[in-house]
């Protein structure tokens, strides 16, 4: 079986973010990056299939600049078999549909049995790429998946619904699942794994190599800004007990409960 895992490298959760000089995105110099947290669960889900069936091949795919190599090396160190790095200035940071188009081209070339992605990205937050990708390659998909069980011709998944309900769906393979955080316990890359990963191939491609054109973003970001500080905010201070009783007082005062 072949499992393709799509992952994006995003600013580290602890990174202090500044907005760039033209106010259209964050300043990316001098900040730490990490694998999008949702995607780490997708990768773990794929690696578990490989743990159970050693014949499984796990291919990780990422679109992004040179720094993405680090994320792919980490994924290989965790146990993925090989990586495809789409290093293409136009495709990186493009809109969801263009990103999905590029990933679809990779999927067509790889023809995996399963595609796992994260439910969304920590930076873009759109959740749009996974279903678009599934549509473009004409496979069924399920989003917000907490549990997967791969059988011979199908993938059984448990989806998280609003209010904590769980929906069980069975998808014929090939298919795509976007994985929710907390779906599993993500493993750590061991030093041995990292050393072995040195020998694993990272295939670097451009969108043109994949036969896709016109991948530059159709959406333009006008402005990125921090929400203005609201002068009416009350900051409660004191001991935990004092803060809690102050907060209760405010809630009563505003009559919101």
């Amino acid at each position: 079986m072949k499992v393709m895992v799509c992952l994006k490298q995003v600013p580290h959760q602890d990174a202090k973010l500044d907005i760039n000089s033209d106010g259209t995105w964050i300043q990316e110099d001098n900040i730490k990056f990490e694998i999008n947290s949702y995607d780490t669960y997708a990768l773990e889900e794929a690696l578990r299939i490989k743990d159970a069936d050693a014949d499984t091949e796990v291919v990780v795919v990422s679109i992004g600049p040179d720094r993405v190599t680090q994320a792919l090396r980490t994924a290989l160190g965790m146990g993925a078999d090989r990586a495809v790095h789409v290093n293409d200035a136009e495709a990186f940071g493009s809109d969801a549909l263009c990103v999905a188009k590029v990933l679809a081209a990779v999927a067509k070339a790889e023809s995996p049995d399963l595609i796992f992605t994260g439910l969304m990205t920590d930076d873009g937050n759109s959740s749009a790429v996974p279903p678009m990708l599934a549509e473009l390659i004409d496979v069924p998909s399920a989003t917000g998946v907490l549990h997967t069980e791969a059988a011979n011709g199908s993938l059984k998944v448990e989806r998280e619904l609003e209010g904590g309900a769980i929906e069980v769906v069975e998808l014929p393979k090939p298919c795509l699942a976007s994985i929710q955080t907390g779906a599993n316990q993500v493993r750590y890359a061991s030093l041995k794994g990292i050393m072995q990963a040195k020998k694993k191939p990272i295939d670097v491609k451009t969108a043109a190599d994949l036969g896709v054109s016109d991948v530059a973003s159709k959406a333009t970001i006008d402005k990125v800004y921090s929400p203005p500080k609201n002068a009416t905010a009350d900051i409660l201070s004191g001991s935990t007990d004092e803060i809690v009783s102050g907060l209760m007082g405010k809630i009563k005062e505003l009559g919101v409960l």
């Binding site: 730490k32 990490e34 680090q70 090396r73 980490t74 160190g77 493993r187 750590y188 890359a189 061991s190 030093l191 041995k192 794994g193 990292i194 050393m195 990963a197 040195k198």
Partner: protein, 391 residues
């Protein structure tokens, strides 16, 4: 990369990838639980399993035993990062297993002992401890009195150990015992399984710092252990202990490097946010210069520590000298930085609940454990005198 860290000539891309992996372990497993484990006085057993599965407990050991076959530089990366989890005791608990308890076993024991004890300890299924110190024998290792008498196919062990990290819960102890004459040549190392009759854990010791690491007294009353549990050769225990002190001392030095980094990072954030007399603390020249001193001190310790790691990995004749210097310097430097960063925090630095007072307490023992600073100076000065005589 934090700006307080110089690029290093010692590490490969793989080391840096490993550093990230340990860092995410620290962020996910240790920091969120640090307060609870410090209060409990121990880390959960499951942490050893998680660390074992991540391959952290066997970095230097053979792949046939589940290790990674790497050198002491990898150990430095592990220690530096684990020590930044705001619970030095947690880092101590893990390294007392992977380095202190296992190194002599990995280098000197036969395959049968390695299969029975080393491999499961690397997987984190068993907890190990190193048992050398006694109430009347700390720095003076050669005077230990715990006796192992040969009786048929067994050793019968009687005596007492103290200050044993992981001791209260250990499944086995790499135990220094007297099998022969008084002095250094009468000492041997055995693997001591703690389910043996006559063994008892005494008090759990309530320590100044490193509180998440459990430390205790161990009592042995005619405990029978198969003679086949002997590590290496009888009478060579002292030699094994001395040669494996190198790794222990390096661990402490690397912890110190990580802690200094963490304290400087926390301090810089605080100095950037806290104002007095209308200026940020970082705008006062006093504090800027003190940060310059701390960062320089950190880099000096880092350089000495990494050099010691390289020499130890190469089994270089100068390794002992380098690692003694690294530990001596690291203990003094980290204690100085902890005091300085506490001073920076003013009253807030005195209040329990932030990492500042905890680190201050945690590093107090760095000039004691794994060989005191006085003993480091003895080793260094002896080496100096010897080279003078050779000239």
């Amino acid at each position: 990369m934090s700006l307080t860290r110089l690029p290093s000539i010692y590490f490969s891309d793989e080391h840096e990838a490993f550093r990230k992996s340990v860092r995410s372990f620290v962020e996910r497993e240790i920091r969120p639980n640090a307060d609870a484990w410090e209060a409990a006085g121990e880390v959960p057993r499951a942490l050893y399993r998680t660390a074992g599965e991540a391959g952290f407990l066997g970095l230097r050991y053979g792949e046939q035993w589940g290790g990674s076959g790497q050198d002491f530089l990898a150990t430095c990366v592990l220690c530096e990062e684990l020590a930044q989890g705001d619970s030095v005791g947690t880092a101590v608990a893990l390294l007392a297993q992977s380095e202190f308890a296992l190194s002599a076993l990995a280098d000197e024991a036969n395959d049968e002992l390695k299969r029975a004890w080393l491999a499961p300890a690397i997987r984190g299924e068993l907890i190990g401890a190193i048992g050398v110190s006694e109430p009347a024998a700390g720095s003076d290792v050669a005077s230990i009195a715990t006796r192992a008498r040969r009786d048929g196919g067994d050793y019968v062990i009687s005596g007492q150990k103290t200050y044993i990290t992981n001791g209260p819960r250990a499944d086995f102890v790499t135990l220094a015992v007297r099998t022969g004459e008084p002095g250094p040549r009468g000492i041997s190392l055995v693997v001591f399984p703690t389910d043996v009759k006559g063994f008892q854990v005494g008090r759990r010791l309530d320590k100044l710092g490193a509180r998440a690491s459990d430390t205790g007294e161990l009592f042995f009353d005619d405990c029978r252990v198969p003679a086949s549990n002997l590590i290496g050769e009888e009478g060579r225990g002292m030699q094994y202990i001395l040669s494996h002190f190198g790794g222990e001392r390096l661990v402490i030095a690397a912890f110190a490097v990580g802690i200094m980094q963490r304290l400087i990072d926390i301090g810089l954030d605080y100095a950037h946010e806290r104002s007095a007399f209308g200026s940020k603390l970082l705008e006062f020249q006093t504090w800027r210069h003190r940060f310059a001193d701390m960062a320089t001190r950190l880099e000096a310790t880092r350089g000495l520590t990494y050099q010691a790691a390289r020499l130890l990995s190469d089994a270089h004749p100068g390794a002992d000298l380098a690692v003694s210097m690294a530990k001596l310097d690291a203990a003094a430097s980290v204690q100085a930085v902890a005091a300085e960063v506490m001073q920076l925090h003013g009253g807030f630095g005195q209040i329990e609940g932030s990492p500042i007072p905890r680190y201050y307490r945690d590093v107090a023992g760095f000039s004691i454990g794994a060989g005191t600073s006085e003993i480091m100076r003895e080793i260094i000065s002896r080496a100096l005198v010897k080279t003078k005589e050779l000239r």
